[in-house]
């Protein structure tokens, strides 16, 4: 059941209970009745209001005659005054339901009376469902507990039980007097239409790979934003929280990464507005999210579809009665895992021991060590418990031809690192009006504003891992302590606490878009033209300020800078849609013309010697100025698209689309390219021979597609020779070549083959989808290393090729649904095999700068035949032991030195012994989402994980001084595999490479929905409170902060270097509707 249904049901409940108090509609009655029967009066009410009257029994005839005069009287007022005390009524679904008030002990014995309870498909009682004797006016609605009682029913009658969003049930009465009837949610009716690019399609007709996620699945775990809500819930969609930074947005990849250089993030389209950030969208405001995965679904987005498309549809106003919905939660966040470090006394003793072995004088006196204790735990000093708030509020409804949905959201996040935080404010308004029966005009407005403070987190986290516990935070004079030298770590470095607290890195940014769209029915419902005009703007101001305190430096070192940027754009999409069924034929044809224009401006300045009190706003008061920076780019895109979907008898479907796309940033002559796709599907379950199996196999569909999509995510002017300017010491202009020209720059192309099977078993108890895909990206945009020509040693060219092959599996449904208990699942699994087929065409190995540290250069590479982000290095084989002294000597080593595998067995360790020691791409990712409901309690357990990837844990490489592992260093007496203090070692080896697989209890939520009976008394239609925990438990061998967090993605992924640690959160929330 989705939220919409819940809301509808809840609103009904409210009406049932509060009908006397709540004014439902503006329908009024004007009439004078003189001694009329109740039936006559009711008929008049029906005529004047358009409401239909359902009544309980013949007893209406026994009602006293009515004489009254009404002038523009509200229908409630009228009913209140005419109905005697024996009757009560409710207004539901444009129906006035009148029934006799029930008296204890009365009715059950009546021969013509039936009663019962109506349940929904989760087993919960369904209030407000209508129960009517078919073909008559005799009917009632179920009460708060889903119960009904109806008299005047004979055994031949058929009860018709209906509720919006559920399949109507016809129940022959027969001899039974008591009924227990479950309504099944009409998934076909609700899920019938799925949003696809530039239109909607019946789910059963879809031949491409489109995954759809409805509100309730999104909201099953509390989430700040839509990307977080998406994690683990759609097969083939990887959502990775690469940082615990409160402002960080999770990275999203659909079916692996294609591009080595530019853009692997999917295109997000919210209500037709392209290029929206998922992070700024509150999941509460979302009606559905559709993920387009294969070429058939994506080729309608041609140039922009290569990385997949996420279509977000926000809610529209529905229901005559306005609805207010509030969801809010507070979280308490802590660093999920601290990295254990040495205490001061032990650090000092080991340091002394090391120095003695190196032939140096020990630095710490024995008495001093004894008095040291634990010393400073730098991680404790920079991390804190953070409190975060998240509130969202919406009001929605519709009134005759006009509907509205207005929502506001506030998120105030504290970071777990001191002096970090992120606040976001969003506003949304969706308005729609049917100006005439043929013309609809809609306007959507969205605004987001955020304030981000990253402080000095990156430096602080890095330094906190390296600083010696023997160093105090502050000197005696209150200034920050500084590195002490003599190998007492680090050397040099910023004081971790100082770096966190004193650094000032702030930004605030805003985004706004407004779209105006009109849809005009040209020919019945068959031919429509619609046009959407979008204006979007965003701007940001960011600044930094480094005061002199951290390093106790001089005031002339105080520096600050500020950058202001603004982006503006206008898009227009015009769509002509033809949709008609003739008998068994169904044709949908769509034509699109689209243009997009964007301009980006930025400006920045920085200075040194700014008065300390002024911060970065005082750049102009500085002593030394850096040259100002100014940037400007302008891009345009133009597209024409055509698509035809044809289905025959709901059994056979074919679809084809062509899109011709142009992008300004490509070279002249290569600006335009054409993308196409073809697909076909077969609804086997609709074949005659499957009719018998229908009871088990509700739906069974096979589908296949093939097509192409492109990617042109290169910056503007990428094909031109560009210069850069700077100033020399004497303020003379220095001109340099910044970018080489490439007059052949063109689209990166991906072609994809997809086959899938969709199964719906036992009418929604299990929904199974399996898909196989094979994606090949060619003409990959890559920086090709070239012999240096005029300062430039690389040129952007279309040279590489990457393949992604894999499987998406998803299993959903509600396997168990009884009256009091239900279990719903959404399990997803993606197996992806990423492989680089060709690099820059020159070498089969490209070095990535991710591990560009002394001793590690060249260890993070892209290699032909391997997945992206391969680690190269020596294989560590422990230490040379004393008994191996003679063999060690052959390698120029002594016992205690690090031992490496002599791969080529040539008797020496050199470059030829470097081999593949890891890879950052996971082999599989999965999500296991389970929701259990028992009466009013609900429980959500969500596991998520990846396996098969490696992480280069560079922190451990640096933390040799502070990690407790060093206790176990090699000595002649203690022949361990941790090298001796004086050991000869090579930096780059698999000693620092760890398995990044993990299984994580991402979320555990327990919610309680208050019984409607209680809530109705306080005029609340629904109230749920919940408590939840995020990242509660992780099964992993990884020793760093978090196997999910990394410094990069895709080609630059798999490196953990002082990543902002992820948090464990406890969430307390409330969800309220009235």
């Amino acid at each position: 059941m989705n939220l919409l249904q819940i809301l509808q049901r809840l609103s009904v409940t409210t009406v049932v209970c509060c009908s006397l108090a709540v004014s439902v509609s503006a329908q009024t009655i004007s009439k004078t009745f003189r001694n009329e029967s109740l039936r006559t009066v009711l008929n008049e009410i029906e005529q004047q209001t358009g409401l239909s009257v359902i009544c309980d029994s013949d007893k209406l005839d026994s009602h006293a005659k009515i004489s009254a005069t009404f002038e523009d009287a509200d229908v409630n007022e009228v009913l209140d005054s005419i109905l005697s005390d024996d009757f009560e009524y409710s207004i539901v679904n444009k129906m006035i339901v009148i029934h006799e008030k029930r008296q204890d002990g009365k009715g059950e014995t009546d021969d013509d009376r039936v009663s019962g309870v109506i349940y929904d498909d989760t087993g919960a009682p369904l209030p407000g469902a209508s129960v009517i004797v078919k073909g008559t006016r005799n009917g009632t609605t179920t009460d708060m507990d889903g119960k009904f009682s109806l008299s005047g029913v004979s055994p031949e009658d058929i009860l018709e039980i209906a509720f919006l969003g559920f399949r109507t049930v016809e129940q022959p009465v027969g001899d039974k007097a008591v009924f227990s009837i479950s309504l099944e949610s009409d998934s076909e009716m609700l899920d019938e239409l799925v949003v696809i690019g530039y239109g909607v399609q019946k789910r059963s007709d879809i031949t491409g790979s489109v995954a759809s996620l409805k509100t309730d699945e999104l909201l099953s775990t509390p989430a700040y934003n839509a990307s977080q809500a998406l994690q683990g819930k759609v097969a083939g969609v990887m959502v990775q929280n690469t940082s615990g930074d409160p402002s960080a947005s999770p990275e999203i990849r659909i079916r692996g990464a294609n591009s080595l250089t530019y853009g692997n993030s999917p295109l997000v389209i919210c209500d037709g507005v392209q290029g929206v950030g998922l992070n700024g969208i509150n999941p509460n405001e979302i009606e559905s999210i559709e993920v387009l995965k294969d070429a058939a679904a994506l080729s309608v987005y041609g140039s922009q579809g290569a990385n997949g498309v996420i279509l977000v549809t926000t809610k529209k106003g529905k229901g005559e009665r306005g609805q207010v919905h509030y969801n809010g939660f507070v979280t308490v966040d802590n660093v999920a895992r601290y990295i254990p470090t040495l205490e001061a006394w032990e650090y000092a003793s080991l340091h002394n021991a090391r120095r003695i072995e190196e032939g140096l004088k020990p630095l710490f006196e024995e008495e001093a060590i004894a008095a040291m204790g634990k010393g400073t735990n730098w991680q404790n000093e920079i991390y804190r418990t953070a409190i975060t708030h998240n509130h969202s509020l919406s009001v929605s409804g519709s009134k005759s031809v006009f509907s509205y949905y207005i929502a506001a959201g506030i998120t105030q996040k504290q970071g777990v690192v001191l002096n970090t935080g992120y606040d976001q404010y969003t506003l949304r308004g969706n308005f729609s009006a049917d100006v005439t029966p043929k013309l609809n005009i809609a306007m959507n407005v969205y605004a987001v504003y955020d304030e981000n403070n990253t402080g000095g987190a990156t430096t602080a986290i890095h330094e906190a891992l390296l600083w010696s516990p023997t160093v105090p935070i502050y000197e005696e004079d209150g200034s920050y302590s500084q590195p002490q030298g003599n190998g007492i770590g680090p050397n040099p470095g910023s004081n971790p606490v100082g770096a966190a607290v004193e650094a000032n890195n702030r930004s605030n940014s805003g985004g706004f878009h407004v779209s105006l769209s009109g849809t005009w029915k040209l020919w019945k419902d068959w031919l429509k033209i619609s046009s959407q005009l979008v204006y979007r703007t965003s701007g940001s101001t960011s600044g930094y300020f480094d005061n002199q305190k951290v390093n106790n430096g001089a005031s002339e070192d105080v520096s600050g800078g500020k950058t202001v940027s603004a982006s503006n754009g206008i898009d227009n999409t015009t769509t002509l849609t033809f949709d008609r069924e003739w008998g068994k034929h169904h044709v949908q044809a769509t034509g699109v013309y689209e243009v997009r224009k964007s301009a980006y401006n930025s400006m920045g300045g920085s200075a040194r010697g700014i008065p300390v009190n002024m911060g970065w706003q005082g750049i102009n008061f500085g002593a030394e100025f850096d040259p100002p920076y100014s940037g400007y780019t302008k891009t345009a895109a133009q597209s024409v698209m055509g698509r035809v979907n044809y289905s025959f008898d709901d059994r056979y479907m074919v679809s084809g689309s062509v899109r011709h796309d142009g992008a300004s940033q490509l070279a002249d002559g290569n600006k335009f390219d054409t993308f196409w796709a073809a697909s076909a599907g077969w609804n086997i379950s609709n074949e005659k021979f499957m009719r018998k199996a229908k009871r088990v196999i509700t739906d069974l569909k096979l589908r296949a597609s093939y097509g192409t999509v492109g990617n042109a995510a290169v910056p503007a002017y990428s094909s031109h020779l560009l210069f850069n300017s700077s100033r020399d010491d004497n303020d003379n202009l220095v001109l340099s070549v910044a970018q080489a020209a490439n007059s052949n720059l063109k689209w990166e192309r991906t072609r994809e083959f997809n086959v899938g099977i969709d199964m719906n078993l036992w009418d929604g108890k299990l929904l199974f989808t399996a898909e196989y895909y094979d994606k090949l990206t060619t003409d990959l945009l890559m920086w090709q290393k070239v012999p240096i020509v005029s300062n430039v040693d690389q040129v952007l060219r279309n040279v590489g090729s990457v393949s992604n092959k894999g499987w998406d599996f998803s299993l959903g449904g509600t396997p168990v649904a009884t009256k009091n208990f239900s279990w719903s699942i959404n399990w997803t699994l993606n197996l992806n095999q990423n492989k680089i087929l060709k690099l820059d065409g020159i070498s089969d190995r490209l070095i990535d700068g991710q591990l560009d540290y002394p001793g590690l250069t060249g260890s993070h590479v892209q290699m032909v035949g391997q997945p992206m982000a391969t680690f190269l290095g020596f294989k560590y084989a422990g230490t040379w032991k004393t008994e191996e002294a003679s063999l060690a000597a052959m390698y120029g080593n002594v016992p205690g030195d690090a031992k490496y595998v002599d791969i080529n067995m040539d008797g020496k360790i050199d470059n030829s012994d470097i081999t593949i020691i890891g890879n950052a791409q996971p082999k599989g990712i999965f999500g296991i989402n389970n929701t259990f409901r028992w009466k009013n309690l609900d429980l959500n357990i969500f596991f998520q994980g990846v396996w098969g990837n490696d992480i280069y844990n560079i922190n451990r490489f640096y933390m040799t001084g502070t990690l407790p592992d060093i206790r176990d260093h090699w000595t002649p007496e203690n022949q361990t595999d941790y090298p001796a203090f004086t050991a000869k070692e090579l930096g780059n080896c698999d000693r620092w490479v760890e398995d990044g697989s993990y299984l994580r209890l991402k979320n555990l939520s327990i919610g309680y929905t208050f019984p409607r009976k209680w809530m109705s008394k306080i005029k609340v239609s629904s109230l749920r409170i919940y408590a939840s925990g995020n990242n509660l438990w992780t099964l992993t061998k990884y020793s760093g902060y978090d196997p999910e967090a990394a410094n990069g993605m895709d080609a630059s992924g798999g490196v953990d270097h002082a990543v902002y640690p992820s948090v464990r959160s406890f969430v307390f929330g409330i969800d309220l509707s009235f």
């Binding site: 030298g485 243009v595 220095v734 020159i842 070498s843 002394p854 070692e985």
Partner: protein, 488 residues
């Protein structure tokens, strides 16, 4: 449907349509720094050649040139710190590209800029006479870079404005061809460069002569052994000496002070970093000790033995060369490296902490300066070349050598045979030019490596390949025409 509704609907739709309308996909480059905006006046040429210095400043401001010459006596560095490359260490492991990439790339970056400039001059319609100085500057820098490339890597392809588009497949030129090209460029530079430049970083005709004299001196030794070049080296050095434009700075120590970088009379050609412009350098920090409140990286240092051998003289040159008493007053002997530290490269301006302040991590904005030719080297080139060319030391040769010795407070040389004089000059170069990327090349051109190692690293056997760096392995993949040096 009522008529006015249709009109309304059409109006709305039409409005929406026209707002998007048709657009052009031609890129608007009016505000972009594309090629059409530049090179219509001589100033742009001077601005452009200025960018050729950044790669060289970066290179000389890094550890690379010093550590690549680490088998020389003056430089010692801890292989465990770098895991990198040690030319003469036969058991060397790790990735030599870490250093050689930088040498190769930065030289070719600078060459590429020179090539572009020369090509642009050839193509432009401006009065060529206004561009003579900048053309000379480009040819000087190009010659300088090829001279470093051939001394490090023996052979490499000569890429000029004529064949830059074929660099991918260009083949190695022979050492002879490279030197011939250097001489050709330097001949042009010498005729085009002015006697004075308003910007201190730009080469003058004297810089061209200084470079020429060292090129000749090198050609006279290994591997070309064109001994007739000694006379040419002597003559070029002499031209500088007799011009009397340069003189020895009275106090050796003052040469390495940042404040004097533009004013001293001894510098003939120097690279200047400008951190504000992104040319920040770090070697000043790399040579500082980590301990004693210094806050350096201690990447490399000098050698005890070298200090022992170093002639004390009046002590002034020792003080200007080494850094022996650390900030907290302690001696180098008790410090972490246990080796004497380098003094010459310490002062890289106030943002580096200066000569006598602690290095400041947060600043990291050092404005180093890296002298390439100074008058004392010219004197020593003259002395060496004259002695070799004239088969014995002349009075002028003695005077050249002794001018350098006198400043250091050392005993003057006299009554030496040709070989004794030659050794005295080579030794003097070793002391005078320590940590200036000089001694390693002396060792190479005079084939002294075995002799040096026998003393400093006994037991090391070398062969010819040890005189050359391996060409960067990863660059061999891009430059498909070149070949690795034998022995690697």
């Amino acid at each position: 449907m009522k008529r006015h509704t249709i009109i309304n609907a059409l109006t709305v739709i039409a409005l929406l349509f026209t707002a998007g309308g048709c657009i052009s996909l031609d890129e608007d480059i009016t505000a972009q720094p594309t090629a059409d905006k530049f090179f219509d006046e001589p100033d742009d040429f001077f601005s452009f050649i200025a960018s050729a210095y950044a790669p060289l400043v970066t290179f000389y401001g890094s550890d690379c040139p010093y550590c690549m010459g680490a088998p020389a006596e003056d430089v010692d560095f801890d292989i465990d710190r770098w895991e990198g490359f040690k030319t003469a260490d036969i058991n060397s492991v790790g990735n030599p590209d870490e250093m050689t990439d930088m040498a190769w790339d930065n030289m070719y970056k600078s060459i590429g800029i020179c090539n572009t400039l020369i090509q642009t001059i050839n193509d432009c319609n401006l009065d060529r006479s206004l561009l003579r100085a900048v053309e000379g500057e480009a040819k000087f820098l190009r010659a300088f870079c090829y001279f470093q490339l051939t001394r490090f890597f023996r052979t490499c392809p000569i890429i000029t404005e004529e064949n830059s588009s074929e660099a991918v497949t260009a083949k190695d030129n022979t050492t002879e061809e490279i030197y011939a090209h250097i001489l050709k460029d330097l001949a042009d530079a010498e005729s085009m460069l002015p006697e004075e430049q308003s910007d201190a970083f730009r080469p003058t005709v004297w810089a061209a002569k200084a470079l020429l004299s060292e090129v000749y001196l090198t050609m006279a030794g290994y591997p070309l052994y064109q001994t007739d070049k000694y006379a040419l080296a002597r003559d070029k050095a002499n031209e500088i000496i007799i011009s009397e434009r340069f003189d020895l700075e009275p106090v050796y120590f003052d040469l390495w002070l940042w404040d004097n970088r533009y004013t001293n009379k001894e510098f003939i050609f120097t690279f200047y970093a400008n951190a504000d412009n992104g040319d920040q350098t770090y070697v000043n920090c790399a040579v500082r000790p980590t301990d004693a409140g210094e806050g350096g990286w201690c990447d490399w240092f000098s050698d005890k033995l070298f200090l022992e051998e170093f002639p004390v003289g009046d002590g002034s040159r020792v003080e200007g060369t080494f850094y022996l008493t650390l900030l907290d007053g302690s001696s180098w002997e008790t410090s972490i490296a246990g080796q004497p530290y380098v003094g010459k490269l310490r002062d890289a301006g106030p943002h580096s902490g200066g000569y006598s302040g602690p290095w400041n991590y947060a600043n990291g904005n050092a404005d180093g300066f890296f002298n390439q030719y100074r008058f004392s080297e010219i004197l020593l080139i003259y002395a060496e070349a004259a002695n070799m060319a004239e088969n014995g030391p002349s009075k002028d040769a003695y005077e050249a050598l002794n001018r350098v010795r006198r400043r250091a407070g050392c005993e003057e040389a006299s009554n030496l045979s040709k070989d004794e004089f030659d050794k005295a000059v080579l030794d003097e170069r070793k002391w005078e030019l320590a940590f200036e990327n000089s001694r390693w090349f002396d060792i190479c051109r005079r084939q002294l490596l075995q002799e040096v190692l026998d003393k400093y690293c006994p037991g090391r056997k070398i062969d010819e390949h040890n005189y050359w760096m391996p060409k960067p392995y990863d660059r061999l993949e891009i430059w498909t025409g070149i070949e690795q040096n034998e022995g690697y």
